[in-house]
């Protein structure tokens, strides 16, 4: 286990490039940064976050389930009000739209927590602090 600390983003990126160019796989490198350094994603050539599947799933489920729910309620006790059709699609779309966002937002948050394994009790009690430094932790398990 090797650890490098940097005060500035530029030095940090330079060193990270050097390590990656030397042939170390990104799985063996952890970086800790005070904010999102987008260059790290480019250097590691990571794929876009899998979070999008959670978001899509949540949003789609929200729309479909809420629409089905409303159709169920009007079929459960069919009562015509205001001369409108039982399944009033334009009116139902509004509630379905809100539920799309509601479910999409909640499932995205849960997906984020799941992907990052948060909340992490171990780290709540004893966090690895990087202060405002940029850290590269190089796990020597696989490497040069």
């Amino acid at each position: 286990m090797k650890q490098f600390e940097f005060d500035t983003q530029e030095e940090f990126i330079a060193k990270l490039k050097e390590i990656v160019d030397a042939g170390v796989k990104s799985e063996f490198i952890t970086t800790l940064t005070p904010f999102h350094v987008h260059e790290v994603d480019h250097i590691f050539k990571t794929r876009p976050s899998e979070l999008r599947y959670f978001t899509l799933l949540g949003a789609a489920a929200g729309f479909i389930l809420s629409f089905m729910f409303m159709v169920f309620t009007v079929m459960d006790w069919p009562i015509i009000t205001g001369g409108k059709p039982l399944i009033s699609i334009p009116a139902f779309i509004i509630v379905a739209f809100e539920c799309t966002i509601l479910f999409g937002g909640i499932v995205s948050l849960l997906g984020f927590l799941h992907l990052n394994r948060l909340p992490d009790i171990r780290r709540i009690i004893d966090p690895r602090e990087c202060g405002n430094k940029f850290l590269i932790i190089h796990d020597m398990g696989g490497g040069k």
Binding site: S49, W77, D120, I124, P127, N132
Partner: protein
């Protein structure tokens, strides 16, 4: 928008000292409140408590203590509901919409605006309950089958409102909290004892690893992308509470965009009202600069022009329609019992914003503060006029009437401001007021650092 270089940070100044300074400045604002703070908090709690007591009185005595009666069944309570939902809106606009447009000046305001959103939606959510005669039956609004297995009516705008407002509250809270997670991780270092423990738990064990940031950025973007159509839809739904009925002056297709623009207008003004004293008291002047105010005054100007245009369209439509009821209502608004309110509203929302074309005034903090107070008053009056004059002059002259708010209603309105400021003041000492990680990433105006 034009670019001026000192709004965005320069790469060269992003050093350790800078990062540390940002943290210290923001965290310092969370410590040791001064005398002014305690006075403000005391006054707010007093108003809040007074309003709650009056509500208790109304619950005990019945709705007769409020001024709302036939024909004006919606009065100050619904005005306040629309007003507070409107205030909430610019919070989402500033944090989510400007995030999607990569407008960097948002980092000065976004946390405060998000807090304002959450608190204003809570305040707004209280008003339909206060408006209910029997508040303990509020659960009738929720979609469940009643004793006779009859469901709620999903064609009713009031049910849309329940979904819209509760979704808005939930998503705003998530957005607000997610934005703060890295800042809690920074805050835990600066405190000891119980506060350190609370911030540690709230930070969820955040460390800022590669993967955490990667998922985090995506999450934040998705939430912003959800929040943006949500802002538009929520106030559209609120406007449909009016527009779906056939009351003259309400039944209009223009209502949704008109309300959304008005909401952003009033909310942006509220952001200015809140941040100007706050940046002074908490010494955050170098993070919330005059340049930022100039930009946000631009947002105010654009939305004011949309609102003015809507007023003109509304009046012209009434005049040109040949519909006697529509014409009567607008004539009544301009010359009837509430004409002073109408013209004051016109002055606040149409005439005064034109001064913002002057760049000197856009950059004058004192002027902006006074201006934002006028806008708050003007936008409150707008909702009052829309509600009261239309209901007071419906189709049959036999059922015409006027409405005067009772002292109870006025007291509860003052109480709602007390509630808003109480929560806001507590927020300003408990949570980081500026997005620390975002400012570290972007830097601040270089004229002050």
């Amino acid at each position: 928008m034009e670019k001026r270089k000192n709004v965005t940070g320069e790469e060269g100044m992003k050093t350790q000292a800078f990062y540390g300074q940002v943290e210290l400045d923001v965290i310092r604002a969370m410590k040791r409140p001064g005398v002014f703070y305690w006075i403000a908090l005391g006054a707010s709690i007093l108003a809040f408590g007074g309003g709650m007591t009056l509500w208790g009185y109304q619950v005990l005595k019945g709705m007769g203590v409020a001024g709302i009666t036939h024909p004006v069944g919606w009065g100050v309570y619904i005005t306040n509901f629309v007003f507070w939902v409107g205030i909430a809106h610019s919070g989402t606009l500033i944090s989510a919409v400007l995030f999607l447009f990569r407008a960097r000046f948002r980092s000065a305001f976004n946390r405060i605006a998000e807090a304002m959103t959450v608190i204003a939606v809570m305040t707004a959510g209280l008003f339909p309950l206060i408006h209910l005669g029997r508040v303990w039956r509020f659960y009738y609004l929720l979609p469940y089958p009643n004793q006779r297995m009859l469901w709620v009516n999903f064609r009713s705008p009031l049910i849309w409102d329940v979904f819209a407002v509760s979704t808005y509250l939930t998503v705003s809270v998530i957005f607000f909290y997610v934005g703060m997670v890295p800042d809690f991780a920074a805050a835990r270092r600066h405190f000891t004892g119980i506060r350190r423990r609370i911030y540690s738990i709230l930070s969820l064990g955040w460390e800022g690893t590669t993967d955490q940031w990667r998922h985090y950025s995506r999450l934040y973007m998705f939430l912003a992308a959800f929040a943006t159509p949500l802002v538009v839809s929520v106030h559209s739904v609120v406007s449909w509470d009016f527009a779906m009925s056939i009351v003259p002056g309400w039944h209009s297709t223009i209502f949704a965009p008109y309300f959304v623009a008005g909401a952003i207008f009033s909310g942006t003004a509220m952001v200015i009202t809140l941040t100007i004293p706050m940046r002074k008291v908490l010494k955050l002047e170098k993070y919330i600069t005059v340049d930022h105010y100039e930009k946000i005054a631009g947002v105010l100007l654009v939305t004011a022009l949309i609102v003015s245009f809507s007023y003109i369209v509304e009046i012209l439509m009434a005049a040109y329609s040949g519909n006697i009821f529509e014409k009567t209502v607008f004539y009544y608004r301009m010359t009837g019992d509430y004409k002073y309110f109408f013209w004051l509203m016109m002055f606040c929302n149409v005439v005064m914003p034109l001064t913002l074309f002057n760049r000197k005034l856009r950059r004058n903090i004192k002027y902006l503060f006074v201006f934002s107070l006028f806008v708050n008053i003007g936008m409150w009056l707008e909702r009052f006029i829309i509600i009261v004059t239309s209901l007071g002059r419906e189709y049959i002259p036999y059922s015409w009437g006027t409405y005067t708010p009772s002292l109870i209603e006025i007291g509860i309105t003052v109480g709602s401001f007390g509630m808003f400021f109480t929560f806001f003041l507590i927020f300003s000492k408990v949570l980081p007021m500026l997005s620390i990680s975002e400012i570290k990433e972007q830097g601040v105006g270089n004229e002050t650092i």
